[in-house]
């Protein structure tokens, strides 16, 4: 999936991203769906606030995880594209 840097990802209505204290893990709760994102996905999802665009998300991750920005942006696009297809994210 190709996404522009200025795409602003959002959680779709009815979708909640929260920490589950029992499993000690982050979960995405959606209408009759439930996702357990891996560590990398959690770092991306934590940056989704309805205002940050893809470019800003990639900048933040590149600064913290010392990986090339273009690699990060490709990973982010794949992960968000997958969750968009499953109905959890709007792009």
């Amino acid at each position: 999936m190709t996404l522009a840097d200025d795409t602003v990802p959002r959680f779709r209505p009815g979708v909640k991203f929260r920490f589950d204290p029992v499993r000690e893990t982050w979960v995405v709760l959606a209408p009759e769906r439930l996702f357990l994102p891996d560590e990398q996905a959690v770092e991306i999802l934590k940056l989704i606030d309805g205002t940050r665009n893809l470019g800003a998300i990639a900048d933040d991750l590149a600064a913290r995880f010392s990986a090339p920005r273009d690699v990060i942006i490709a990973d982010v696009a794949v992960m968000l594209g997958d969750l968009a297809e499953k109905g959890a994210i709007a792009l």
Binding site: G14, V22, R23, E32, L34, E85
Partner: protein
């Protein structure tokens, strides 16, 4: 966190009362009556326990969950406990007042069921005149409130030709998610199987329609598609495996790994009135009976799909073979697979009359009428 991994979802059948009489209802043939239902306080206690042991999503169903006047109070308590709240409803009682109360209580999602797109046929299947029009109004209320909408169409030989129009209706209603769910043949559905089971040709045409719509609507509307087990090659992963993900609680408080489990002989299911959910999930013999893979016969035991489909459905194995511990006959590797083709052969040219879901309809005596308050 100790012991077996916690359940993801709690399915609560708040009541078996329902104004509709759908002949494929997932409730047991022996419906529980209003006087046996858990009280408000008892349900609230169950939700507290559920949140504590790690349940993430709470599905309110029935019967018709809105037949419980305390539904908003139950939703509020569940939402306050951090549970994701979902209501599965026919929508015929979802008026402005109830919608506002549910929004105030913090409801996350509503799934609305439809019987067809043709109003007359829909009302005939539901056994309730005017049901379809009320459902359309309910869908508009859900969207106007800003909630995501899932529409569920239960598909069978008496409406399967309308699947393209069902998808179009879901789009028109602004649904984020649609279920094109073929009838599952348990309980009332099993009793009405000949009246409901579509032909292979009808199923194949429908599958093609759904696949095309999925491509077209990618990223806009998710379509979940469930086929009848009678035409499957591999069994469904029923409930994600016995007692692996869900606890289902009946109106009277009986805890079971699925809503149809009561059909299995030799089980005594625990009551939440007497036993904690934690104890039930970790130690109850009924929950342990088919959990995991140790119980499996061949060909499941050595199958590389044993942790994908978990041997299929125990209730179906029992209904079709008389033994709940056999491989689900839906699997074409199952020794009993031929019973599926035999059932298809029995469906006949024209569907027989429905046996509608009613209190007492399964008794030998005349039906007893029961009103919904």
């Amino acid at each position: 966190m100790t012991g077996f991994e916690p359940p993801m979802g709690l399915i609560v059948e708040l009541t078996h009362r329902c104004p509709l009489q759908c002949p494929y209802c997932s409730n047991p043939l022996a419906l529980e009556r209003a006087g046996e239902e858990l009280t408000t306080a008892e349900w609230l206690g169950v939700f507290d326990e559920a949140a504590k042991i790690g349940v993430l999503q709470l599905h309110f169903t029935g019967g018709e969950p809105t037949a419980r006047r305390d539904l908003p109070e139950l939703v509020r308590h569940a939402a306050d406990s951090g549970l994701y709240t979902n209501i599965i409803t026919s929508g015929v009682q979802l008026d402005d007042r109830l919608m506002a109360a549910l929004m105030g209580a913090g409801i996350d999602h509503i799934q609305l069921s439809f019987q067809d797109v043709d109003p007359d046929n829909a009302d005939r299947i539901a056994g309730y005149r005017g049901a379809h029009a009320r459902k359309l109004a309910a869908a508009a209320r859900i969207r106007a409130a800003g909630l995501p909408l899932t529409v569920n169409f239960v598909v069978h030989r008496q409406n399967i030709a309308n699947v393209p129009r069902m998808i179009a209706l879901a789009e028109g209603l602004g649904a984020a998610r649609t279920e094109i769910a073929q009838v599952q043949y348990y309980g009332w559905g099993f009793k009405n199987r000949a009246a409901l089971l579509p032909s292979r040709a009808e199923l194949d045409a429908t599958t093609a329609v759904v696949e095309a719509a999925r491509l077209r609507l990618k990223g806009q509307m998710v379509i979940d598609y469930v086929i009848p087990d009678y035409y499957a090659r591999r069994p469904k992963s029923c409930m994600g495996g016995w007692a692996r993900r869900f606890i289902n609680i009946s109106p009277a408080g009986k805890a079971m790994p699925c809503h149809a489990a009561e059909t299995l002989p030799g089980f005594v299911f625990p009551s939440v009135r007497e036993t904690s959910l934690a104890e039930i999930w970790q130690r109850d013999p009924a929950f342990l009976r088919f959990r995991g893979t140790d119980w499996m016969p061949e060909p499941c035991q050595s199958c590389d799909r044993r942790e994908i489909d978990w041997g299929g459905c125990r209730c179906q194995a029992f209904a079709l073979t008389g033994d709940a511990a056999r491989t689900d006959p839906a699997c074409d590797l199952a020794p009993d697979h031929a019973v599926m083709a035999a059932a298809v052969a029995e469906r006949g040219e024209a569907p027989p009359d429905f046996v509608y879901r009613r209190f007492g309809a399964n008794d030998a005596q005349a039906p007893i009428s029961e009103t919904v308050p």
